[in-house]
């Protein structure tokens, strides 16, 4: 069972992502911002990280960069969950080491279909 770290400062989005993943059989761990995400990430290994971009304390791009420095996360897919589909944002994500991005509004079926590109 793949284990996913879900990082979002919005409780409802985080709950929904987590709920969607769990209903598809994934195991999830939730974090409420980048700092929290980084702390949770250090507690173990994950098969996938889904993170919001705009968050207080530590944004998703920074989190991504920090995660890539951890040995456990060098090859872990990291997806940015964002409403900002601009090329600029994607490039920033990519250069920080993000694997891909998911564009909000969040759609559960789409999420499940999309993450299959990086995790089973």
């Amino acid at each position: 069972m793949a284990k996913v770290l879900v990082v979002d400062d919005s409780n409802s989005i985080r709950d929904m992502v987590s709920f969607t993943l769990k209903s598809a059989g994934y195991q999830t761990v939730e974090a409420k911002d980048g700092l929290d995400g980084l702390a949770k990430a250090k507690t173990g290994s994950f098969d996938l990280v889904i993170s919001d971009v705009n968050m207080p304390n530590m944004d998703g791009i920074t989190l991504c960069g920090e995660l890539r420095k951890l040995p456990n996360f060098q090859f872990t897919p990291i997806l940015m969950l964002t409403t900002e589909s601009s090329t600029d944002m994607k490039m920033r994500g990519k250069s920080a080491g993000a694997t891909g991005w998911l564009v909000k509004p969040f759609n559960p079926e789409k999420l499940l279909a999309t993450i299959k590109r990086v995790v089973r």
């Binding site: 919005s10 709920f19 968050m55 456990n72 060098q74 897919p77 409403t83 694997t99 995790v119 089973r120």
Partner: protein, 709 residues
């Protein structure tokens, strides 16, 4: 598979309203160059937009998009923060609230306001939006072509494709979900085993997909890797035959090294591909809290995890105590009495801690109630044209949620009053040597078991003579009465009293201060006024921390047990006859240090019969309310204990002098004394005797109490 997310709507709504409050508060404090604040406003709008989109609240999404665009401009420094834009954004917050509420209630909303605000936003953003026209155009891929198409995909990943977490196998898995996939791995570049770097990719693939998906959908699968690979996708025309993959089109360089894999590429490939992913160490299965909440329309509280953890710990301890006691009870002998006692002691402790812990869950910082005031004062300043600022202190002071919800409106009324009647116009202030900017302060702090909320202003103060003459005019008081300042200010709370020379639309809309006082009293609280002409006024609201539980002193009068709220008790003493002063009528006064405290025999007040009627050596419980001390004469002092308050009003009717009832350990009912009410009763008695003019009917409630017993 379909996932129903409607259960998350309540939490989205709750979060959105919090977000709006944050936006509002931040906008009011926004200063140019304050990037962190702009960021947090942007984030709030952004989350609302994201959530609204998910639930199909399109009106919210569209409107918020405009708001977000304006905020984005500010965030990136492309636009200066100017007061006009802040005003537009504040109005936008209102509109977002209207739209979200409408979406929640599936109801209509004030379209004019929203349209007007939309225009304002569009006007402000005119130059930005014109450049964005094409951004929202939908992909024209909905021309669903049901016929199957064949795609030939040449996928040559860079060696480091796996580095940011990509794995070709998963991509192929996703492709396989679209239709029938044939994969062909080209191993030409595979170096000798000794030269293989396990973190790099050496394979490339030729894929054939037969699917009814559009080219866009197929391309989308590779969306994240397009910069890390060479990708060619060609589409064969109208091939609706499920054909053999056309191998000859493959630029397969070395046939002998080519493997053809059909279906389930994931498992088969695994053995042959270099390990693209580091093996993830197996970690202990982490217990994950279930977050599926069955939220309905009932109000919810967001509680800190520490509070819940604490509660769980306590329940754990309770369970241990319980098992210890039941083990003891299963084979009890008198020699184990010590253990029984200590067990019961422990149970008492657990229960107490559990109770405190549960009460803490209902406690929220008063900032929830204070949040709306910066905006209110901002608007009031605009409306009245007076310069004023709001200072909030003690917003972390915790208060029971129910009390908080009900104190909001009275506080709004008091703040409106301060702005409207208290703060003077700037010219008047300057003429009086005050700073031009008026100040309204909100302060909250704990005092004893109560919370005190102060609403003060540095305005004109209350004109005592004006209040007095108005009260005479309205027939509330006798022109000849002599009243102290606090008594005069109390007149403000009489029904039908309003000192404003003219009724403005800010305060004085018919809801008087009497309602404010009534609401506060209904919460078991009280309100006091202090005011100095020319310097300002202060309204002090005293509220109990919680409505459910009270620390009480049990006292015995005749055959009845009463409970005196511990917070009202100053001290208890035995009467020394030498200090009793029988000045007027039968109201005796007791000399307590520098003060003369009226002695109220409770048996007389409630019409009970008792042997203890002599004042000499009697037990006196000195209590204080509204700045007035009285000594309640009782027969015996019993234990102190916490009691659960049962409303008399709900179960019977309101009775003067009694604030509620409780059930004692032995099952009997005891009345909880309402000290302010009792003082009023006693004063009523005294005044009745002196003047015969007052109309406090004390007989009725006395009967009421008797009937209940």
């Amino acid at each position: 598979m379909s996932v129903d997310l409607s259960q998350f709507i309540p939490s989205f709504l709750e979060e959105s309203f919090e977000g709006l409050e944050l936006m509002e508060a931040s906008l009011l404090n926004l200063e140019a160059g304050d990037h962190e604040t702009i960021h947090s406003i942007f984030r709030a709008a952004h989350s609302i937009k994201g959530g609204a989109g998910t639930f199909g609240f399109d009106s919210v999404t569209e409107f918020t998009h405009l708001v977000e665009t304006l905020l984005d401009e500010m965030r990136d420094g492309r636009r200066e923060v100017d007061p006009k834009d802040v005003e537009i954004l504040l109005n936008s917050v209102d509109c977002m609230r209207i739209l979200i509420e409408a979406a929640r209630d599936k109801a209509d909303y004030d379209k004019d306001k929203v349209t007007e605000n939309t225009h304002q936003l569009e006007e402000t953003l005119a130059n930005v939006l014109s450049g964005e026209v094409t951004a929202d155009i939908q992909d024209p891929d909905d021309a669903q072509n049901s016929s199957k198409k064949t795609y030939h995909i040449i996928f040559i990943p860079n060696h480091d494709l796996a580095k940011p977490g990509n794995d070709p196998l998963f991509l192929f898995g996703a492709l396989a979900d679209l239709g029938e996939l044939t994969t062909e791995a080209l191993t030409k570049e595979l170096p000798a085993l000794s030269d293989i770097c396990p973190q790099e990719l050496y394979l490339s693939w030729h894929l054939t997909l037969i699917s009814d998906s559009s080219l866009e959908e197929v391309k989308e699968i590779f969306e994240w890797v397009e910069d890390e690979c060479e990708l060619t996708i060609t589409q064969s025309e109208a091939s609706n035959i499920v054909a053999e993959p056309e191998i000859e089109t493959t630029a397969a360089p070395s046939e002998e090294n080519t493997e053809i894999v059909t279906e389930k590429p994931v498992e088969i490939e695994e053995a042959n591909t270099p390990p693209v992913k580091e093996q993830l160490p197996e970690v202990a299965k982490e217990q994950i809290k279930s977050k599926t909440k069955g939220k309905g329309d009932v109000g919810s509280i967001r509680v800190g995890v520490d509070k819940v953890d604490n509660l769980i710990n306590l329940v754990g301890e309770l369970v241990i105590t319980q098992s210890m006691l039941s083990e003891l009870g299963s084979d009890f002998q008198m020699d184990k009495i010590d253990r029984l006692n200590s067990g019961l002691e422990q149970l008492l402790q657990n229960t107490k801690e559990l109770q405190e812990s549960v009460m803490r869950i209902r406690m929220l910082p008063i900032s929830f109630a204070f949040n709306r005031f910066p905006r209110l004062v901002h608007d009031l300043a605009n409306k009245t044209g007076k310069a004023m600022e709001l200072i909030i202190k003690g917003e972390q002071t915790e208060l029971d949620k129910t009390v908080m919800e009900q104190i909001g409106d009275p506080l709004v009324h008091l703040v409106r009053n301060a702005a409207d009647h208290g703060i003077e116009n700037a010219d008047v202030r300057v003429a009086n040597g005050k700073p031009e900017m008026g100040t309204i302060s909100l302060d909250a702090y704990h005092q004893g078991g109560n919370i005190v909320i102060e609403i003060s202003d540095d305005g004109a103060g209350i004109n005592r003579d004006k209040v007095f003459s108005k009260a005479v005019e309205k027939g509330i008081i006798d022109p000849n009465s002599t009243l102290t300042d606090p008594q005069v200010f109390d007149l403000l709370f009489e029904p039908g009293f309003s000192t404003a020379d003219e009724v403005t639309d800010i305060s004085g809309r018919g809801v008087g201060m009497d309602v404010v006082k009534r609401n506060i009293q209904a919460l078991g609280g009280r309100i006091q006024v202090e005011s100095t002409m020319g310097e300002g006024s202060c309204f002090k609201v005293n509220l109990p921390l919680t409505l459910a539980i009270l620390d009480g002193q049990l006292v015995k009068v005749g055959s009845e047990t009463y409970i005196i709220p511990l917070i009202s008790i100053v001290e208890s003493l035995q009467v020394d006859d030498g200090l009793v002063n029988r000045v007027s009528g039968d109201m005796a006064l007791y000399r307590l240090r520098d003060e003369n405290v009226p002695i109220l025999p409770v048996y007389q007040l409630f019409g009970l019969s008792t042997e203890h009627t002599k004042i000499n050596n009697a037990l006196l419980v000195v209590v204080e309310a509204d700045g007035q001390k009285v000594g309640l004469m009782v027969d015996h002092l019993l234990a102190q204990q916490q009691v659960v308050i049962k409303s008399l009003k709900e179960n019977y009717q309101q009775v003067i002098g009694i604030s509620g009832a409780t059930i004692l350990g032995d099952g009997s009912v005891a009345m909880i004394l309402d000290i302010p009410g009792m003082i009023q009763m006693a004063m009523g008695h005294a005044q009745q005797k002196r003047h015969l003019s007052h109309h406090h009917d004390t007989e009725q409630p006395t009967n009421g109490i008797k009937e209940l017993h």
